[in-house]
Amino acid sequence: MRKHSVKSAAMVGAALLVLAACGSNKDEAGGNNGGSCDTSKGTLTVGVVAPLSGNLSALGLGIKQSAELAVDEANKKCTVKGYKLTVSAQDDEANPAKGAQAATKLSTDPNVVGVVGTLNSSVAQTVQPILRDKKIPQVSPANTNPSLTRGNDFLTAPKRQFDNYFRVCTTDDLQGPYAANYLVEKAGKKKIAIITDGKTYGEGLAAELSKQVTKKGGQIVGSEKVGEKDTDFSGVISKIKALAPEAVYYGGEYPVAGPLSKQMASAGLNVPLMGGDGIYDGKFIELGGKEGDLATSVGAPTESLATAKAFVEAYKAKFGKEDYAAYGAFSYDAANAIIGGLAKTVDGGAWDESKRDAMLTNVGAYSGSGATGEVKFDQYGDSTNKVLTVYSVTSGKWKDVQTGEFTG
């Protein structure tokens, strides 16, 4: 009987995994009606794929609402003649499999003209091919992994991967080295320990950082991995602490980084924790990020950009709060790139399936002045805007300490 129960326990284990893999796909519709414009030709949809639930939902919500804002404004300004635009936001729960479901759902809708998303590079990997097959342009506000546009040999032999994929933020082959330069040269931290969560984004970012740290005369004293759902990091921290690092670089996102920083301090490892755009959120500090912790993020600080002011004000007027998070301004620009491309494609005519090729070309050729500065794409689909900013936790808030471009 006991053997039997072990067997059934194994079955239950398998069932648990299946259950964990399924789950529900939430979907929300947004976007407002278009005032007094001519919308006689119907409705076209801008898709959004982002984590709307789960640990990263603070970032995902900012992406979704900023895209809604862009669509709203376009409707008010009658940017796309004859059509009303709506947003269809799909939850990817920061999970590649869920992202694929969301992308499939959007791609089977003939009215979807473009997709803003995703947040996670790992999710982008499954979404890209699905949207490519339907020639739907995807503009990411937040994917920073360089291989998404330029392939695995992005430094030596870059090659365009997906002709439907664009992004308005810069990439980790610049972000990692930019962080390394700051750590080694500005902050004077020569011995760096690395912790990653094993996902596409964190691994790629940490690898780029390591190369530059070594190049600048610093030293990577150790490298460890933690699970995305881990909560007790005492083992990792003790191991790293024995190597006496002067700073810890974490490749991953704030749900792990915040508690990790706090547990480092309570274990007596009082060195700054640094991360990339994935930890640049107020939640990081709330969850345990401490004074002196550092983060790089893409673009210049939203509050400081003249071009961003209008966005911030409009966002506040529409949603009442400033919760656009790290990628709001980027998402706004991404949505506008799609809307701009669409306006040019439709140009007073009617939208149909045959226009999809022209739509891709027009999004690729889009150029405008957005909330993050100049929005334009290069031959790989990457943003021409390469600005990065280092932030530091000061008096319980992220404060920008250095903005610029990576110059080697």
Binding site: H4, V6, S8, A9, L16, S53, A58, D232, S234, P259
Partner: protein, 304 residues
């Protein structure tokens, strides 16, 4: 050497947490042969219960740890007990005489239900929530070894409560009834033991321990999320199987073994912390190959 000692200490603290949850698995299994997969979620719900209690306190009491902390424990334990009782009454009792797979699948359903219920109804539970700072701060330093006071408290509570539980079950009248029901429910009934009362009490004990674990988890790691029940529930279930399902001593020792394997394997085995889970299950498989009943499990009993 100092690293080894520190990792041993880390492992003991992790083991203490797992032990508190594992006791709930093993006791319920001992009485009604049900692997209560929702038990991890009882632990999770208790943690949110403790947090809610704190949030509901008036401002000046929030700043008085001597009052706030015990109240959080009471709140967390209360929520855990209520959830466990409702679960037992409406999900498991109607299935008591059904084939064994039915309550097992029901337990899975309850587990998913609880997790989603907290996600949907608890404010902002879609992402990690920070736990209030009412716990004693700072570390216990013994030479090179640093353990946060919350970790020390966790170990003391875990070991203390399991000794109390073991003594209660071995010495008290009700404990004897529990053992009798575990051995043979029908005969126990003929001898005047009320099986419903015994089962309800078992669920209450498990929930109290999970409640303590839930609030301590928040205090020790300073934030909580809705996945914590699943993750730690799997560890606790593994600990119960490793020690021998049904055995109190086995569950506690199994939990400490798992905590130690996790930290030591992360430090010394190839692959480091990336593969620490692997070693836990390697040990589990080895134990089950040579001792299918687990380390302290009794060999199969013959039932009348």
């Amino acid at each position: 050497m100092s690293v080894l000692l520190q990792q041993l200490a880390n492992g003991v603290v992790q083991g203490a947490l797992i032990a508190l949850i594992a006791l709930g698995y093993t006791m319920v299994y001992g009485i009604i042969q049900l692997i209560n997969f929702a038990h991890g979620e009882v632990f999770m719900v208790a943690s949110y219960g403790g947090l809610a209690t704190f949030t509901l306190l008036p401002g000046d009491l929030q700043k008085t740890p001597a009052v706030a902390l015990p109240l959080m424990f009471v709140g967390g334990i209360l929520v855990a007990v209520v959830v466990a009782l409702v679960m037992e009454r409406f999900a498991y009792r109607p299935l008591r005489n059904a084939p064994r797979l039915a309550p097992l699948i029901t337990a899975l359903g309850v587990s998913v239900f609880l997790q989603e219920a907290v996600r949907v109804w608890y404010p902002n539970a879609t992402s990690n929530l920070p736990y209030p700072k009412v716990f004693p701060d700072g570390n216990l330093s013994l030479g090179p070894v640093n353990v946060p006071w919350t970790g020390v408290l966790l170990v003391v509570l875990s070991v203390g409560l399991s000794i109390v539980l073991q003594t209660y079950i071995n010495k008290s009248r009700m404990g004897r009834a529990m053992r009798a029901t575990a051995q043979d429910p029908d005969t126990a009934k003929l001898m005047g033991v009320n099986p419903d009362r015994v089962i309800v009490l078992t669920f209450i004990f498990g929930a109290v321990l999970a409640g303590v674990a839930g609030v301590m988890f928040g205090g020790y790691l300073s934030n909580i999320n809705i996945d914590m029940g699943f993750q730690n529930g799997i560890f606790a279930f593994t600990a119960a199987v490793l020690g021998g399902v049904g055995s109190i001593r086995g569950a506690v020792i199994g939990a400490f073994i798992i905590g130690l394997i996790k930290t030591l394997a992360g430090q010394y085995m190839p692959g480091g912390t990336q593969y620490d889970y692997v070693w836990i299950f390697v040990v589990l498989i080895l134990v089950l190959v040579f001792r299918p009943q687990g380390l302290f499990g009794e060999p199969e009993r013959v039932r009348a």
